[in-house]
Each structure stands twice: as structure tokens, then as C-alpha cells.
Symmetry: C2
Subunit: 345 residues, 2 copies
């Protein structure tokens, strides 16, 4: 009924409490055969450390940090808001959480933000991996001092973090293409694709997935343009407008990028929603309204609230050295005007 304690383990192993403790907390100076005896006893009793007692004894407030692009990007504002909602829960777990914002798409900004965390005693850090390639040394420094790292939304190289939480962008792009294809019903047409930057792995993946499926299953839909917007509305507006002018029979627009206001602007003014199937990413205010009014047909959303929840839970288990929660694969929502969430983002 009652869980075994470390004393029980020691007793069964035939060693003192002190030795059992040395084994479990890796304090060293233990003979191999003692380690063995203790481990066998742990196994036999199914001993698991009483986390409550451990935390209480250690009596340490763990510090977490979330390093996110500034919240002027509405997508990251959603993450920020969710983090805010999670604060009470973090508090009862005896943790604090700082949010560090950095200028998105500015080279070196992530690096600088992360560098500020070195030596500050953080137990875990979640960061949006966009631009992490230029921060590998800082990430290594953090890990070196025992900080647990979780990449969010956009992955950083495998060796540089403990875990990644984000969607599979290749699949997202493929799904987008399938939906476009379905909506065409074998009618031929031209598609325009927008991406923030072909330097960003996320966007590259989405575009690649999109093109793969079109090529394989819907050959009569051609990708006429792949536009780079740098996630800026003004650029998107101009380039999309130009592309529309020089292309006949545009039947689909896939915006794999963020910052969609510019795209919607053009759609609203120059495009017949009946003729053009339009699909984008991330449900933020303006996009939602475009969806509701029929200008946009589908929005793929990576559910940042869910990602934040997972990051928090994962960091908690990492810093306490507990087994990670069994997360199923993260699958983005596909929103239409008919299944929008009740809360507005």
C-alpha cells in the first residue's frame, strides 16, 4: 500500500541509509558491488524517490525562463498570454518564470538574449529556436552549467538542446496542398506561395511539403511563384500584388509565412474569394476575421497555447529529473470558419 522509502531500500540491500543515499544521488565513493546491491533493491521494491520530500528538503525555488520574440508579433503574444495563465501553477510548484523578449528576425538578438541568462542560476530555459544557429556557443554554455533547454516552434540543432516542441512543418505543408487539391476537383490552376524567408527551416519545410504533394497528386496545379516576404506586410502586399498581375488563372494562395495582414489586404481588394482558395498559418485576430468573412478558407494553427503548456510541463520534469510526460505527437489545428475556437486570440 504505502510506497517504500529509501530506508527500506537500504535495509533490503543490506547497506546503511547513507550508502543508499550516496548511490541514488550519485555522490561517489561507493564500491561497485554496493551500487549493485542498492540498484537491485530499488528494482525489487519499485522504489521511486518521494518528490515532495525531495523538493521540500532541497527547498530550492527553481527559476525558468522563456525567451520569445517580442509580442508585437501577435503569434508570440498568444504564447505570452498563455504563459501568464500558467503562472499560478508554476508558483505552486515553487518555480518562477521570467519572460525575455527579443527582436524577431534580427540577427544576433536571440544570442544576446540567451547570453544574458548565463550564470543567472536558471534551472530551465525554453526558447524559440529561430536563429539559434548563431547562438550555439551560448546554448552550450548554458547546458554546461546544468540548465535544461527546450526549443520551441523552430528547432535548434539536435545536440544543442534537450528537447524540441513544435509541429512537423513538412506535414503541415503537405496537408495544405491536399486541401488545395481537394478544393480544385481536377480543375487546373496556378498557385502562389508566400514564405517569410527561405532561410527559415519552418518555412522551407512547409513550402517543400506543399510542392511535393501538388507535384505527386495534383499535377495540373502549378506553383507560379514563391514569394519571400521577410514576414513584413508591406513586402507581402507589393510582391503579391505584382504576382497576381502577371499570372493568369490564379486559383490558390498558400501563405506559409507569418505577418499576414498584407496578404489579407490584397485579397480583400483584388481577389474574388470564390475563385481563389486561400490558406494560411496561425490564427490571430485579423486572420480569424478574414476566415469568418470568407476571404481566407483555411488556417493551419500550431496551437501555441498547447506548446507553451508542454514546454512548461517538460521543463518542470527536466529540472526535477523526473520522467517526462507522455506527449502524443503535436498536430496543428486546421481551422475553417465553422470550427473556430470560442476564445478570440
Amino acid at each position: 500500500m504505502k510506497n517504500p522509502t529509501l530506508s527500506d531500500v537500504a535495509q533490503l540491500a543490506g547497506v546503511s541509509y547513507a550508502t543508499a543515499d550516496r548511490v541514488l544521488n550519485r555522490r561517489g565513493n561507493v564500491a561497485a558491488k554496493s551500487v549493485d546491491k542498492v540498484e537491485r533493491a530499488v528494482e525489487e521494491l519499485g522504489y521511486v524517490r518521494n518528490v515532495s520530500a525531495a523538493k521540500l528538503s532541497r527547498n530550492s525555488q527553481q527559476k525558468l525562463a522563456f525567451v520569445l520574440p517580442d509580442r508585437s508579433h501577435k503569434f508570440f503574444a498568444r504564447m505570452n498570454a498563455q504563459l501568464e495563465r500558467a503562472m499560478p501553477n508554476l508558483k505552486v510548484a515553487q518555480m518562477t518564470c521570467d519572460v525575455i523578449e527579443f527582436a524577431a528576425f534580427e540577427a544576433g538578438a536571440l544570442r544576446a538574449a540567451l547570453a544574458g541568462l548565463v550564470g543567472q542560476g536558471y534551472g530551465g530555459v525554453a526558447f524559440v529556436g529561430q536563429g539559434a544557429d548563431g547562438a550555439l556557443d551560448v546554448l552550450a554554455a548554458l547546458r554546461g552549467e546544468g540548465v535544461k533547454l527546450v526549443a520551441l516552434v523552430s528547432d535548434s540543432p539536435a545536440g544543442s538542446r534537450d528537447s524540441y516542441i513544435g509541429i512537423d512543418n513538412l506535414k503541415a505543408g503537405r496537408a495544405a496542398a491536399r486541401l488545395v487539391g481537394m478544393a480544385h476537383r481536377n480543375v487546373a490552376g496556378q498557385a502562389i506561395v508566400l514564405a517569410g524567408s527561405m532561410d527559415l527551416r519552418d518555412h522551407v519545410d512547409r513550402v517543400a511539403g506543399f510542392q511535393d504533394v501538388l507535384k505527386a497528386d495534383f499535377p495540373n496545379i502549378q506553383v507560379a511563384h514563391v514569394i519571400e516576404t521577410k514576414d513584413r506586410s508591406s513586402i507581402a502586399r507589393e510582391k503579391l500584388r505584382a504576382a497576381l498581375k502577371e499570372t493568369t488563372n490564379v486559383t490558390a494562395i498558400y501563405n506559409a509565412a507569418g505577418g499576414q495582414e498584407g496578404v489579407i489586404d490584397v485579397l480583400r481588394r483584388f481577389v474574388d474569394p470564390e475563385q481563389v482558395f486561400c490558406i494560411g498559418h496561425e490564427l490571430i485576430g485579423p486572420i480569424r476575421r478574414a476566415l469568418e468573412s470568407g476571404i481566407v478558407d483555411i488556417v493551419i494553427d500550431q496551437l501555441p497555447e498547447l506548446e507553451v503548456n508542454r514546454a512548461v510541463a517538460l521543463l518542470q520534469s527536466l529540472v526535477d529529473e523526473l520522467p517526462p510526460p507522455p506527449f502524443p505527437e503535436l498536430v496543428p489545428a486546421i481551422y475553417m470558419r465553422d470550427n473556430l475556437p470560442t476564445e478570440d486570440f
Copy 2:
């Protein structure tokens, strides 16, 4: 830096530790003005109970139970498996979790299963609410002895449980209709709808949502039949076959029910996938393969693994009287052959 303790609260409030304790743990026999003083001090210090210390002191193994339809239903097998994966995490939280299976679709089976839990000292119970109408008295009995209740997948009446975890089936049906409509591109056609039983709220909602959207936005798609299958493959097979025979120009099939093997059978043998847009619910083995082979176009999945995770987390917070985690609205996955999860269910 360090969190305030109850002693700090007592001191600030100008009462003894004992009195502060009496207030926080509702032990009674405290004068109103003392309660007030303590509450003000709590507020001012931002005191939150140290959960680790509380759990340690109480030293109680909490018992949870999940009451699910038997796992011969592959959908519930998925839940079962996820629960299995969550066991280590429950163990470190000093909790145990029993899984009680009952015969699905058998009147009284849920009631009987729940009745077996009364007086057994459970701290929290999650149950699939299908058929809960006949078990309201047992639910009341459980709540009466302090058991926290969470309805899963299918809700039970609002007053009979603490919380509900499941998808919005109306929205799911609406989304299904939208996808069907998109794929028709203004071409007229006939749709066949299948449901397990029109007594089940879930299925009724899905069908209603489906019909709503068709009526409003795609009037040239008619619902020719609404078939009740009792979630049995044999019935689905027969009735669908008959419906197909007597209907010309069938262009869509929406299966809102579980137990889809029968439907797939018929599709495989008698239906041209090119002509008929087919959409169903819940990604289980056979459906997945039908999706991959092009017989089924879309599967809406309510992500039972996620639901189980939430139920576990929610029950934990309920039994420990902690603030509930900030869950965003649960949105079902829309699977196509292109965005299937890596793991097979």
C-alpha cells in the same frame, strides 16, 4: 526571493500559527475577524501553500480511477494505452490509478462500474459519460464522499461532475460539412450520413452540425440518408449497402459513428473513391490504412491521448485542491493521408 511560509502569514496577521492553520485548512472555531486578518495577510504576502510540504505531511497515496468502455473498441484502447504511459508520472506524484472497463452501449454497465467505486476511497474518477444519465445517483453518491469527477469524451449533465474534457461535436460536424462542400466545388450531389445512435449526444451533435452547414452554404448537396448503425459493423455494412443501391449520384459519405470497419468494407468493394468524398471519425488502425490507400479522404480525430493527459492533470489538481492547468480549447485533429502521425495507433 524565498516564498513566505504559514508562520510568516500568522506573524503578519498578528495571530498564532495555530489560528492561521485553522483558517487555511477550514478547521472551524475561528472568529470572523481572525479569518479576516489571516486572509488579508495571505493576500498581502501572496502566500501559497507549499504543496510539497503538504503532501509530505499528509502522506497520503491518492487513488484515481478511469472508467472506460472495454478496450475491444480500438478508440478506447488508445486511451488505455496512453493511461499506461502516464503511470510512471502518476507514481512519482504518489498516486495510483485503476482502470475499470465496462461493456460499451450496454444500459446500466457504466452505472454498475461506478457503483463499485463508492466507498473505496478514491480521490478522483474520470469516466466516459456515455450513458451517464442512468448513473446520476451514483455520481452524486461519489461526489458526496468527496470524490472529484471528470467526464470524458461524452459529457454527463452539468451538475453531476466537476469538469468535462472532450471536443465540441457540433463544430466537428460543421467542419466535416465544410470539407465536403469544398471538395464539391459547386457540383451537386447526395450525401449519406451514418451515426451510431441518435440517442448519443455526441453523434446527434455531429450530424446536426453537418446538416446545418450543408443547408446554409452548400444547398446543392442533399443528405439522402441518415443511417443508425448502433456502432456495429454488420449493421453499417448492410444499411449502407442498401442506401447506396437506392440512391443515385452519391458524392459524399460522412460517418459520424465509431466502429467503421463495416463502412470501409463497403467502400472498398462498391464505391469509386474518385466519385465519393468520404470522411469519418477517430484514427484507428483500419481507418488509417483506408486513408493511406485513398478510400477515405479525411478523418477527424479527437486525440484521446491528449484527453487522457488532460484528465490526469486535471484530476491531480482537483484532488490536491490546486489551481487547474490553463487548458486551451480542445480541437480535434483533421487527418489526411499527408499529415498522419508517425506512431500507429
